[in-house]
């Protein structure tokens, strides 16, 4: 039996093509994935991300607990509402999940974790809580829905729909959030465009969704979400990284704080095993489409290295295939590699990513 979000019927009413996404019945697209992609890059689109799980962590020692639990440093969160992207690691440095942590007050932080990992994440957090901070209250919030409104016009559309929201949110910077009545509004996203991620009571989700639609926000499915995030150079858990990979080999060194005195779960393992691979951006030079798990072959100083594409696809904005690939750290921006696609060796170039940000092609 598939799990459903509070918006399941709303998707069906909009003729969504529904798919089983890790046990969740979710919209893949509402007709054309490409049109939804362009709509987000050029105007505004909305995604049901209610399969993701907000978890509230409450109690006096919440910050101390999160300093140990998370690889990024929650001490960077100084003003209430501020958000931080981070990995949660095992002792051996493998990634349990990537998540966003919001600082609401010294006794209330909220994290939002991936759908496919939610159960294991909560189990892990409870286990760490029991040893490190038994007084903390950990509450998974399946009573909430989450809608991402993304695109250059996304914020203005939200302001039309939620009364008084413009005054409350127009001064929010990226990675800041605020609470307005029943809405938790954060200026975050997974598309490389401006916009909000809005958490609200499940019972209000359909009304809000339909009001956004009436304001001209296009529904967008998981298909467009994947091509948008790939263009934005954002990792997908389970594809670009998992429990067997370190953040240092997943393009996420910038999220790991190894400099401060602070100890955290997985820190020692990261210090003990410097990265030999990197997550590199690839742009295909030949015709074709790069896909996950294709083999990448690279030459460097007379040695042949093999790597693997972790996420690949056709970039609708660039009109060419792009990919993220785990390959030797020896390679540099501008190097050419071969990708084995069926019976052919296609040429691709190593590029700095993100590939696209705020509607502009960067490669």
């Amino acid at each position: 039996m598939l799990q459903t979000t509070p918006l399941n019927q709303a998707h069906r009413d909009m003729n969504a093509k529904m798919v089983d996404f890790g046990g969740w019945d979710m919209p893949l697209h509402y007709g054309s994935q490409l049109e939804e992609h362009h709509k987000v890059r050029q105007d505004a689109g909305m995604f049901d991300v209610s399969h993701m799980l907000p978890v509230d962590i409450k109690g006096d020692n919440t910050r101390t607990f999160l300093r140990q639990l998370l690889a990024n440093n929650v001490d960077k969160l100084k003003t209430p509402g501020k958000a931080l992207y981070t990995c949660m690691l095992k002792q051996d440095g493998g990634i349990i999940d990537d998540l966003i942590v919001y600082f609401l007050s010294e006794s209330w932080f909220r994290i939002v974790v991936n759908a496919g990992t939610a159960e294991k994440d909560v189990a892990w957090i409870l286990k760490q809580r029991d040893t490190l901070a038994p007084d903390l209250e950990i509450t998974p919030r399946r009573d909430l829905a989450m809608i991402a409104v993304q695109g250059p016009n996304a914020r203005a559309k939200v302001w039309q729909v939620i009364p008084d929201s413009q005054a409350a949110t127009e001064n929010l910077k990226l990675f800041q959030s605020t609470v307005l009545n029943q809405y938790f509004i954060a200026r975050t996203g997974y598309t490389g465009e401006d916009g909000f991620e809005i958490i609200l009571p499940a019972d209000d989700a359909t009304t809000f969704w339909n009001a956004l639609s009436a304001a001209g926000v296009a529904p967008a499915g998981l298909g467009a979400r994947d091509t948008l995030r790939l263009e934005a150079g954002m990792n997908l858990y389970g594809q670009d990284m998992d429990e067997s990979t370190s953040p240092l080999e997943s393009g996420l060194a910038w999220t790991v704080d190894l400099k401060s005195e602070r100890d955290f779960i997985g820190k020692q393992a990261l210090l003990d095993s410097p990265a030999t691979n990197q997550l590199a951006g690839l742009v295909l030079l030949d015709r074709g489409v790069l896909r996950g798990h294709q083999t990448v072959v690279a030459q460097h100083d007379g040695t042949e290295y093999q790597g693997e594409i972790t996420s690949g696809g056709f970039s609708p904005t660039i009109n060419q295939s792009i990919a993220l690939a785990r390959i030797t750290s020896q390679l540099s921006i501008g190097d050419e590699v071969n990708v084995l696609v069926r019976d052919k060796k296609l040429r691709a170039k190593v590029v700095k990513y993100p590939f696209v940000r705020n509607g502009k092609v960067l490669v």
Binding site: L28, H29, S32, Q33, L34, G223, R287, V289, F314, R342
Partner: protein
């Protein structure tokens, strides 16, 4: 969308049209493009290539996945629709109007083994259940 009655079909969702000069024209069905979603890349066989029935001979890739196209019957490739290389979305817009390649059949009795419109329709109904 109804299945055109003047074409023949395969289990792997190719359509086949017999032309008056005896050659056959081949494409992928409306159902196939619907399953795949927005098409972004098409790789076609070389003109002159000899194909065996059921041989992989072309690739249709959508935003979602790559799908092999199989030769419905044996024969030599006489023409390819290279417009699709720059405009693969034409397959989404009109699957039965967007042919991939033409064959000169080497064994016309193979045509008799293909599905007719009713047979393909019932295949689709079975797949839906």
């Amino acid at each position: 969308m109804s299945v055109p009655t003047d074409l023949k079909y395969t289990n792997s969702h190719e359509w086949v049209k017999t032309e008056s000069d005896g050659t056959v024209t081949i494409g992928v069905t409306h159902h196939a493009q619907e399953l795949l979603g927005d098409m972004v890349f098409v790789e076609l066989p070389q003109v002159g290539r000899e194909l065996k029935q059921k041989e992989e001979c072309a690739v249709a890739e959508s935003v979602k996945a790559a799908a092999d196209v199989y030769a419905p019957i044996s024969g030599e490739v006489t023409a390819i629709n290279s417009d699709l290389e720059s405009e693969p979305e034409k397959i989404n817009q009109d699957a039965y109007g967007s042919w991939l390649f033409k064959l000169n059949p080497s064994n016309t009795t193979e045509l008799d083994g293909l599905l007719d419109a009713a047979g393909y329709q019932s295949l689709l109904e079975n797949e839906a259940h």
